[in-house]
């Protein structure tokens, strides 16, 4: 087991730490680069369908990070609900609204300059604050939380929000159906 990790991650020999930690470090950088690079792709891509595909890879990378953070259930939910549900919904929206004659969705040069300026300032401020406030520290966790414990919390301390959110989903379903077909009453 340890030899395998040593072979796959030769870095493990140079930095003194258990092979499991080295493996998770490698996996973290894999998923982090996947998510970050795809997020950049979302910003830079011109084609809206390509933007959606980049968003899919970002969501998948974030799901991998959830696995590394011992949140297996959340990772599964991320893949099923976000990548499987929300993104399909978005792609359907793209397909239903793609025919816009004579419209090009290009930002103006001023908008690009403002966006770059604001993004750089916010990113610098966030990174500086994080580096200053949160020095490197090991995980405070001794054992992995189980999905059963998550279910206990969800139906225990958070029972009322849990039930409220089901009502919210019902309202959203009705509202979305109403909004999407409201035009027929207007009659063209």
């Amino acid at each position: 087991m340890e030899d395998d990790a040593m072979m796959i991650f030769p870095l493990a020999q140079t930095i003194a730490q258990p092979p499991d930690a080295a493996a998770s470090t490698g996996l973290f950088y894999l998923f982090a680069i996947l998510a970050g690079a795809s997020a950049l792709g979302v910003v830079l891509s011109r084609n809206i369908v390509r933007t959606a595909v980049f968003l899919l890879f970002t969501l998948a990378g974030v799901a991998g990070l959830y696995f590394l953070l011992d949140a297996e259930f959340l990772a599964a939910v991320q893949l099923v609900v976000y990548a499987g549900g929300t993104l399909v919904l978005i792609i359907f929206g793209v397909m239903l609204t793609s025919k816009s004659p004579g419209i090009r969705y290009e930002p103006k040069i001023v908008e690009v300059a403002v966006a770059i300026g604001v993004s750089v300032v916010v990113a610098a401020a966030l990174v500086m604050a994080i580096v200053r406030q949160f020095p490197a520290e090991p995980a405070s966790i001794e054992r992995h939380p189980t999905i059963a414990e998550l279910g206990q919390v969800l139906l225990g301390d958070y029972l009322i929000p849990f039930e409220l959110i089901s009502v919210l989903l019902l309202v959203v379903m009705i509202g979305a159906a109403y909004l999407a077909k409201a035009r027929r009453r207007g009659g063209k």
Binding site: V42, I48, L55, V81, T86, S100, A115, I130, P138
Partner: protein, 114 residues
């Protein structure tokens, strides 16, 4: 350099979440397609979720009486549900807008402008 290659800590996740947040912000500012803006919102919500789960893992996990506190993960689940609901309503609004104006360019949404 040794700081970067050492064991992954809380600040690694926080910096990644900051990158995702800034990408979402830039997406919202740059896209004129309404669905592109929606994707920026999804990126920002994901950044918040990464922060919640990372803090839950590194800071908050040791609860009282030997238990494990999972508030961050529960909040992240709620955020995912709300994001799905928000996407459904937003797309319904975009469809309605498209049916009236045959475009989803947000610059054309000026009917309420005074």
């Amino acid at each position: 350099m040794s700081g970067l290659l050492s064991q992954v800590g809380l600040h690694h996740y926080l910096i990644l979440a900051a990158i995702l947040f800034v990408c979402g912000l830039a997406t919202m500012m740059l896209k004129r397609n309404a669905i592109g803006i929606l994707m920026g919102v999804e990126l920002i919500l994901n950044a918040a979720n990464v922060n919640l789960v990372a803090f839950n893992h590194y800071r908050h996990a040791a609860g009282a009486a030997g238990g494990i506190r999972l508030d961050g993960q529960v909040f992240a689940i709620f955020v995912i549900v709300l994001a799905a609901a928000e996407a459904a309503v937003a797309l319904a609004i975009f469809l309605s807008f498209y049916n009236n104006f045959t475009t989803i360019d947000v610059e054309r949404a000026t009917q309420l402008k005074g």
